[in-house]
């Protein structure tokens, strides 16, 4: 676990460093009277980032110095696979909305989970693939009048979503 703790703290320190560099122009109190109250736009983000940087350094140092049992962040290969099986399709599904729209993505995503993870019979997979987008369309698009992204087939006038 220790390398992961150190790496996480270092990542936060880097984010803080970038923010400090970006807002360094307003880091100090202005005595010239140009900034109202002597504090410019960069003051607050600079010192918030500085606070974060110092604490991230402390956390990284402590994690480095404190011995912890085990080196892996996960409890075995099954745990890694369980997380990967969720994250990878989720990221692909979110990105595919740009092309497929929300409803086509929903059908494919539900169908994939039903078949791949649930190992359902094809009839149930088909029912979820069609039923879930239809239910969401009825609830949000018609019921709540929330417009969700449409697919290229909608643009071509082939599908209503």
């Amino acid at each position: 676990m220790r390398p992961y703790q150190v790496a996480t703290a270092v990542a936060f320190a880097l984010v803080a460093a970038v923010a400090m560099i970006d807002s360094r122009a307003g880091a100090l109190v202005d005595r010239t009277g140009r900034e109202p109250g002597g504090v410019g736009a960069g003051f607050y983000p600079f010192w918030s980032a500085a606070l974060m940087f110092v604490c991230a350094a402390v956390v990284a140092y402590r994690a480095w110095k404190t011995p912890t049992p085990g080196t892996s962040a996960f409890e075995g290969r099954e745990a890694v696979m369980a997380v990967a099986k969720l994250i990878v399709p989720m990221v692909i599904a979110a990105a595919s909305i740009l092309v497929l729209g929300f409803y086509l993505m929903t059908g494919l995503y539900m169908g994939l989970f039903a078949r791949w993870i649930g190992r359902y019979r094809w009839i149930w997979v088909a029912a979820l693939t069609v039923g879930m987008p239809a239910a969401i369309y009825a609830t949000f698009e018609i019921g709540f009048r929330v417009t969700l992204p449409k697919s290229f087939l909608y643009d071509a006038g082939i599908l209503p979503f």
């Binding site: 109202p36 109250g37 504090v39 607050y44 983000p45 745990a79 969720l86 990221v91 909305i97």
Partner: protein
């Protein structure tokens, strides 16, 4: 005279809360809360965050109905988490973790699942009732007091909120400060409201408006929790009991409650005041209640083996703390817990400003909300007594259907507020960050509170300096600001004192309240 005015205001609040549409919203909120409370992969905070875009539509006609819906989810989730802890030995919510100690043993070893469930429901109801009475009488007084606050006093209140999260909450104060710094940075991103300069946008036009609170919260809580849950369910196992709460169970529980009424009321009252402290919601309250019950019990050895006090005390304190967490939100504009932080974000989205002026400008809204807490808890209590088998059956929804469904609902929630795909990607990214932070034991409460309070903290800081012509003496120039900042410094010294005291003796593992997510 002021005291009697409260009764008149409360009566008006009941007239609002008992309107048919508000009752419907409360019912929908409570049912949703019960469902998410039962499901280990989804928490009350995530459900409230996901529902925010829907409430925008409701708030156009009535913000009171919208807040009643969100508060209903909170109350429902408080009760719903109990069922899985007691019957399945799996906490549905962080605040029901403590029920694993005595709830499951009473249900399994002693064969009394009905009594275990009824004990927690009755204690929740009693604790919440007394907390709501305190809420009714104290919140207006606190708001009246806060009306005299200017920017320096408000800045001191915000600083004290952060100091509370660090001093009283975190096992690792450095991690808590890091999360606060990160939250403040996220809040600062985009246009500076005073000078109009872009900050931390790195030339990206999409970031000029800043990062929305809703997509970040849905990611941190909704997606983050579901990934964490996927990891755990892949390696865990489930032990299931089935139960219903019968008339005999209720009679037996009432007898037990009578013997422990003093304990339940006192832990409820202590839980309420604990909940008022920023960042300390129901989860911290539940552990506090358990600790108190065990410390003052004559039968300490019975704890962990199905002792009813070990169920009633934490439940009463948890519900009371949840009610208490709404007090600073309404009276001061400071969220008492992550869930109340999300509800507070909802108020901003609907065009309301949380804080003392709410009592003046939106009188019906505030008293409608307060009255709905009474009605909501009664409704939840009755539904729970009647519908335990139904709630338990929710746990049987297959993972292959539930998990993608929650992700889809999260995507809808983040997209629909601004019709922005950027918000969807922010949700996914923060989902991954939230999961990893949980894994690395970083507290999420300071992060969420900092994102919500970031803008207000900076605004009051700079307004104070503008008013004083740049002199920092203004922050200690009034007695209230000086006292609050002194308290904040004292709170920040607590971890140091704690570390000095524990040096040389073996530290016992403490529950880290700041990692609690409620």
């Amino acid at each position: 005279m002021e005291f009697f005015n409260v009764f008149g205001d409360l009566a008006g609040g009941f007239a609002t809360a008992l309107q048919p549409f508000n009752i419907l919203m409360l019912f929908v909120g409570v049912m949703l809360g019960l469902v998410v409370g039962v499901l280990p992969g989804l928490g009350g905070t995530s459900a409230v965050a996901i529902l925010l875009p829907v409430t925008v539509i409701i708030a156009r006609t009535s913000p009171t109905s919208a807040v009643i819906l969100l508060a209903g989810v909170y109350w429902g989730a408080l009760f719903g988490g109990v069922v899985t802890s007691i019957l399945f030995n799996i906490p549905g919510e962080p605040w029901s973790v403590v029920l694993l100690f005595d709830g499951f043993p009473l249900a399994k070893r002693k064969g009394k699942p009905g009594v275990a469930l009824a004990s927690s429901f009755f204690a929740s109801f009693v604790g919440a009732f007394f907390a709501t009475v305190l809420f009714t009488f104290l919140s207006k007084a606190l708001a009246d007091f806060a009306l005299s606050f200017g920017p320096p006093e408000l800045f001191a209140v915000f600083v004290m909120s952060f100091a509370t999260l660090i001093g009283l909450g975190a096992e690792s104060p450095a991690k808590a400060v890091m999360m606060i710094g990160f939250g403040l940075l996220l809040a600062a991103l985009g246009f500076d409201t005073i000078t109009g300069q872009p900050r931390l946008t790195f030339g990206q036009v999409g970031l000029l408006a800043g990062i929305g609170f809703v997509p970040v919260t849905i990611g941190l809580f909704g997606i983050g929790e579901i990934i964490a849950s996927a990891e755990e369910s892949g390696i865990g196992f489930m032990e299931r009991l089935s139960a219903r709460v019968g008339f005999k169970d209720i009679l037996e529980t009432l007898g037990e409650l009578r013997k422990r009424l003093g304990l339940v009321i006192s832990t409820g009252i202590i839980g309420f005041f604990f909940g008022v402290l920023p960042g300390h919601g129901a989860t911290a309250g539940s552990f506090l209640g358990y600790g108190l019950a065990r410390s003052y019990s004559k039968n300490k050895e019975d704890f962990g083996k199905g002792e009813i006090s070990g169920i009633m005390a934490p439940q009463a304190a948890a519900d009371a703390a949840a009610v208490g967490s709404l007090v600073p939100m309404i009276s001061l504009g400071v969220p008492g817990s992550p869930t109340s932080a999300v509800i507070m974000a909802g108020l901003f989205i609907w065009g309301l400003t949380p804080g003392p002026l709410l009592f003046v400008e939106h009188h019906d809204f505030v008293w409608g909300l307060i009255a709905s807490i009474y009605v909501g808890h009664l409704m939840t209590f009755l539904i729970c007594l009647a519908a335990v088998p139904l709630l338990a059956s929710i746990m049987r929804i297959p993972y292959a259907i539930l998990t993608p469904f929650i992700i889809l609902i999260s995507i809808i929630g983040s997209y629909s507020l601004n019709n922005s795909m950027l918000d969807v990607f922010i949700t996914i990214v923060f989902g991954l960050i939230g999961y990893w932070l949980r894994k690395m034991k970083y507290p999420l409460a300071p992060l969420v509170v900092a994102i919500v309070l970031g803008d207000s903290t900076e605004r009051t800081f700079r307004q104070s300096l503008i008013a004083s012509g740049g002199s920092p003496a203004i922050f200690v120039g009034t007695p209230i600001a000086a006292i609050l900042l002194t308290l904040a410094v004292a709170l920040l010294l607590v971890p140091l004192i704690r570390s000095l005291r524990s040096r040389g003796r073996r530290a016992e593992p403490d529950f880290d309240v700041s990692t609690a997510i409620d």
